[in-house]
Symmetry: C2
């Protein structure tokens, strides 16, 4: 069917959002126009502002307004720990856990030679520079448990070991609330391999 041009344009533009198809975009467009014009205005403004102001932190590559992000600028953080994650989403997951007080470095991707993504594409020389800075003692690898994630972890491990740094990985095993009968065999085998002394 034929919508008026601005309406159609709004629907098309909304489809750039992840998981939003034609039907959802229509529903969103109607919602914005019919029920939340104020919210729509704020959304347009927030997108514009984010695009204009947000860049990558020079040190850890997190999205931030200035040159340096609040975490890198925070003197309370532990300079000895550097957590290497693939994406901003992974960074949010770890930071939200509240269990980590060190610094970060975002790879913004992972090595995938088949897709033509090598160390140069990921600008891993930036990571090398970061590892050369004084103060770091331990590099915590928090890459995905996938083939590309493993390859990336291997590369970062070499970079770090070459500088005499300790390299650790996130523990793998049974997640909280995980019922053993539903957990896949590879996870169980990792959990067995990584078993620890029971605490008394």
């Amino acid at each position: 069917m034929q919508f008026s041009p601005s309406f159609q344009q709004l629907i098309d533009a909304l489809r750039c959002l992840p998981t939003v198809g034609q039907k959802t975009a229509q529903r969103m467009a109607l919602h914005l126009l019919e029920r939340d014009r104020a919210g729509a205005g704020q959304l347009a403004e927030a997108i514009g502002e984010a695009l204009e102001k947000l860049g990558h932190c020079r040190s850890c590559r997190v999205f931030t307004e200035g040159e340096i992000c609040p975490i890198c600028a925070d003197s309370q953080r532990d300079d000895r720990l550097l957590c290497v994650v693939e994406s901003p989403a992974d960074w949010i997951a770890i930071e939200s856990s509240g269990a980590y007080q060190g610094r970060y470095f975002l790879l913004l991707g992972r090595l995938s030679p088949l897709d033509g993504i090598g160390p140069d594409e990921l600008k891993l020389d930036q990571l090398a520079d970061r590892l050369d800075q004084p103060g770091i003692e331990e590099v915590i690898l928090a890459t995905s448990a996938t083939i590309e994630g493993e390859a990336t972890a291997g590369y970062v491990t070499e970079l770090a070991r070459a500088r005499g740094l300790r390299v650790t990985r996130l523990a793998q095993g049974v997640p909280m609330g995980g019922e053993l009968e539903y957990i896949d065999a590879s996870t169980l085998s990792l959990a067995l391999k990584g078993r620890r002394e029971a605490e008394s």
Copy 2:
């Protein structure tokens, strides 16, 4: 956790979209900033343009750029039929079916005395004016099969009958692809009541 201000603002603004909560908004914000900056720019622009340009058609109250929407302006449409629907979403559903070639009128709501929504709040005098225009012969009620929808349909029926117009309702019954065993009793009872001679 603490995001940088523009990023947090973008997440908050995205939450005005229907069905979008904190997690989805985060994912959308990251997607826009990381993977689709061009799309994000277009989205901001499309929202702004839609808010600025789109108003209601003077005749049927559909969203449109000008005074009169393309459907009302289309001389090929059947002037004798006026389909009364509640919302733009319902209008889209009927128009997308391609089975209707008449005119429309959008109520933009439904009567709900308990919520203080009466004929005045729905500006039903506009509908009365529309019904007074020459040419209309049949009013097709396409309101929801809910209590408020029925109340609204009753009111519109009175308005139309007072002007000597024929009033019809969408048929109710078993939907296409509907398996009888999963269809609720009220629908089945309506389908039985509305049964028709089998076509040979």
